[in-house]
Amino acid sequence: MSAFSVAFRRDFALMWSAGGGVVAPLGFFVGAAVLVPLAMGPARDPLAAAGPPLLWVAAALAVLATIERLFQADLEDGSLDQMLLSPTPLELIVLAKGTALWCAIGMPIALAAAPVAIAMQAPLALVPAIVCSVALGMAAFVGAGLVGAALTASVRRGGVLIALIVMPFFAPPIIFGAAVAAVGFGAAFMLLAGCALAYLVLGAFGAAAALRLQAE
């Protein structure tokens, strides 16, 4: 069994149990999506305008809320040393972590996006596009998150810091994603896909480079 799949399965199991399984991220996502109408009042029109895009903000923040401990725990309990000693390239192990995170948090949220979008008055025809784009967007967020998590692994209670570092990277996927939520599949969707790919690769390498510095 390849080291990648070993690492993936371990991390997936850890996130699944630690994050309270699939329920927690979903709950967070739905919760965040509910806060918005609360804050905006019940009036339909602004909600219809604001709703679907906000789903994106919620999705982004669901990732932010998860990644803080992504590598910090490994650094503090010594697992990182073992990853570094493994013959598997660190980039691959990092990518496995990212994939696990996407499966444990990203996919559930993408699925949850459907009901939330509908609740926020999004036209039904767009829902499939929204779901797919959220799935892609989560991948992009995870890619960016990997770097942020690796950079701040040695900073205790760096929750806000990591968010600050990662946020600028969230801008492009959110822009494209919101566009998809407005017009459905099309140019924006392609751009989003490209963005997700680029971020994942960039993220894996950046994070691995940072992690090598964290162990010392």
Binding site: A3, A7, S79, D81, Q82, L84, P87
Partner: protein, 200 residues
């Protein structure tokens, strides 16, 4: 570990700085396959730093570490440090499977467990294990994947007398089969070292 290649470790004119402080410089020693080398020194002398430099985690300011018959240190090493590298929610069995996959090992998990006397704990979450039991789990890493060079940082920490003699056994077996063991200790593990490096 007949199938395992034999590897020696050469430390040449090594100097390590932590922060502003130069821990030691111009430290050189060589250990041939089968050697058990003890690293001694007061608290803060630099034992851990030395081992971590050999493992490649820490960049020395001068000198180098070389492994015979292999260029990649990553392929040759086991490192058991002050930190056990365990996840509280994961069982010892899952840890061992993980390590075996990560290091491409072939060792038997139940074999390792029974050697270390943790068979009855294999399926408890590590979080609930006692300090010494967790240390044993971490030592099991040495057995699930064969690697010629072992770097042990106070391996007997938190172990009871039975545990200590198990470690002694592991070390002498490993050396007997041509492996190299570098251990930082405060009191002897048992097997008489073929060499002792004292840091001051």
């Amino acid at each position: 570990m007949a199938e395992q290649e034999k590897v020696g470790v050469r430390v040449q004119a090594l100097a390590i700085r932590r922060g502003a402080r130069l821990l030691f410089e111009d430290l050189s020693f060589t250990s041939r396959p089968g050697d058990y080398l003890e690293i001694r020194g007061a608290n803060g002398a630099g034992k851990t730093s030395l081992l971590r430099a050999i493992a490649g985690f820490l960049r020395p300011v001068a000198g180098r570490v070389a492994f015979d018959n292999t260029e990649e240190s990553a392929l040759a090493l086991h490192y058991v440090g002050h930190l056990n590298g365990l996840k509280g929610g994961v069982t010892p069995r899952a840890h061992m499977e993980y390590w075996r996959g990560l290091f491409g090992g072939v060792g038997s998990i139940d074999g390792a467990a029974s050697k270390l006397g943790i068979t009855s704990l294999l399926d408890l979450p590590v979080r609930v294990l006692s300090q010494g039991q967790q240390r044993r789990v971490s030592l099991a890493r040495l057995l699930v994947a064969l690697r010629p060079v072992w770097l042990l940082d106070e391996p007997a920490a938190a172990l009871d007398s039975a545990g200590r003699s198990v470690v002694a056994q592991l070390v002498s077996d490993h050396c007997a089969s041509g492996g190299v063991v570098l251990a930082a200790v405060h009191e002897s593990l048992g097997p008489s070292p073929s060499q002792t490096v004292v840091l001051s």
